[in-house]
Symmetry: C2
Subunit: 350 residues, 2 copies
């Protein structure tokens, strides 16, 4: 048990007042060079560690954090990130933060710009950012930089920005893992198919693309034959006929890898049509995917700890706001493999 030093003790040891130590700690200036050095020496010698909570109670200011992420229905991916954020707000409820959400439609650039503009008008103390549109987000970050507003990424990060934290998944690694797992559980001589969502406009989902790269990088060597299919996330009606046609044209396909969280769309069609010899894999433990995992129509899911991302993002924001601690490189979340047999244990965790 390392002893916890207090500011008062430090000040005594340095022969200065607590106020001076506080000034040194916060780089508030107005401290003579020699005293500053003396204090800093002791500080590092005893390994002084801030007390997040006691310092927070004496803080008058209320920090305003705004979260800019896609809106989504209950039980979908972004909802779990949101849960993690809200969990953190409870965990850190002694720290005076007000948090508001500025959500946008992830398929509509304009709604995203609107959300970002709102934030720039409000000038919060920090923002948590779930990026969907690369260019817009990069632009937004530049403006936040100008205004000295710190931001933290969840889900994925945008290169060339100066975030104070980022909690993401290595998407190519996810794709590769999916390729290996799925191909490993198919009978010899099978083919795999990769399924991607058709998107409105030409905006292609960045995460899906990255995953697909990883997926192909594994199967390039294995010599397995890969087919490509598409489905719609909106015009669900047409999916059935299209999928059945795909299957009849590619009778040796025994595994379908869905590059986003909509595996349940494929899985439901298959099980409704009594097709049980094709294994489906997808990403994220959404409510729908959970259901399909349970009834066996999805073989496994790869999950990226959305709650933990949200939780960590809030923690990182607070740590920066209070102590200017910026996280170094992005933190890659574990990629959890969830199957019917361990599904029940992935619940409510951060």
């Amino acid at each position: 048990m390392a002893k916890q030093w207090t500011i008062k003790e430090i000040s005594r040891a340095a022969g200065v007042s607590p106020g001076t130590v506080d000034r040194v700690l916060h780089n508030r200036g107005s401290v003579s060079e020699d005293k500053k050095i003396r204090v800093e020496e002791i500080l590092s010698k005893v390994g002084y560690k801030y007390n997040l909570h006691t310092s927070a109670i004496s803080l008058k200011k209320e920090f305003r954090i705004v979260v800019c992420i896609p809106s989504c229905a209950k039980g979908e991916y972004w909802q779990f990130i949101r849960n993690g954020i809200e969990h953190a707000l409870v965990e850190y409820s002694d720290i005076k933060i007000s948090c508001s959400f500025s959500t946008y439609n992830q398929f509509d650039v304009y709604s995203c710009r609107n959300a970002q503009d709102d934030i720039l008008e409000n000038l919060p103390d920090a923002v948590i950012l779930g990026p969907t549109f690369e260019d817009e987000t990069r632009d937004f970050c530049r403006q936040l930089d100008e205004k000295n507003i710190p931001y933290v990424f969840v889900d994925s990060t945008i290169e060339g920005t100066r975030a104070v934290g980022a909690f993401t998944t290595d998407q190519p690694a996810g794709g590769l893992l999916m390729a290996k797992l799925l191909s490993g559980m198919l009978p010899e001589g099978s083919e795999v198919a990769i399924f991607r969502a058709k998107r409105i406009g030409n905006q292609e989902s960045h995460n899906s693309e990255e995953r697909q790269k990883g997926f192909y990088s594994h199967l390039r060597d294995s010599g397995l034959n890969i087919k490509e299919g598409h489905f719609s996330m909106f015009n669900v009606g047409e999916n059935k006929s299209e999928l059945l046609r795909f299957i009849s044209r590619n009778p040796r396909v025994r595994g379908i890898a869905v590059m986003n969280s909509r595996g349940h769309i494929i899985a439901d069609i298959l099980s409704e049509n009594g097709i049980s010899d094709i294994k489906v894999a997808a990403f994220d433990l959404t409510d729908n995917n959970r259901r399909c995992l349970k009834n066996g129509s999805i073989a496994f899911l790869l999950c990226q700890r959305p709650e933990m991302q949200g939780f960590s993002a809030v923690k990182a924001a607070i740590s920066y706001l209070l102590y200017k601690n910026a996280g170094d490189s992005p933190t890659a979340m574990p990629i959890d493999i969830v199957m019917k047999e361990n599904l029940d244990f992935y619940k409510d965790f951060i």
Copy 2:
């Protein structure tokens, strides 16, 4: 954002002093019935929530927690539980707790009894318990109950005790998952083998047994042929010849499931002897297993979040010590499936 009510505000609303509110909060008595009711009404109406940290700073008492777990080498399972505990102590360093470790040899009942006796002499405020020997631990818990010392389980729990928290894994589920995953990745017509550690004396590891039950429960239906093998965790020299003999006698075995964390012992022998067509699976992400996963000699591991167990145990102990919050039923950790491809992301997480 739900507003956080303070004791002072509550007292104003109830027309009493802060001291009175505190007395009803802590059931300290010396409060007239009518005031008590008035305060409790407001308390529940506004959903008053303790502030763990601010209440801790004003607490004079230093809580003494002692951790009674098996000792182990660096990079082994119990070490990670310990890491989680130490992580929590840092996270909650604003709360005055002193934590000491009373470790025992997990293969020696006497050392366990000694560790427990030490604790009973010291009379700490709470103990965190990693049970190995069932009878001894049950007895120990009974004595703690008598002395009103709360305890929290990590790793596994003992039936019929009154722990204020337990963070464990569903071992049969782990065994079942291993059976499914391993058998699913073997070529048709293969056999699987289950390997268990020979133990000193007749004390059999409870966890291994539970896992084995789960393992068999899956394969009973699948009709797969299961062989049984043994290895020594101590007399490692004899393992090689024994394993090679086993393999030559059972030439169709293509998968070996090791029911504890010593998969690396089997994996190393196999790879040293150029045997690469047998997949090994085991439990826990120990340093040795990590190495084998990396070099491909282990196919996958099932892991039970030891750091999180340790972390949660400390949190539960604190929550009980401060507010008498006892966790309801044991909390089952997720069972993480770790393979070469997602290995790198399972590091340093709680």
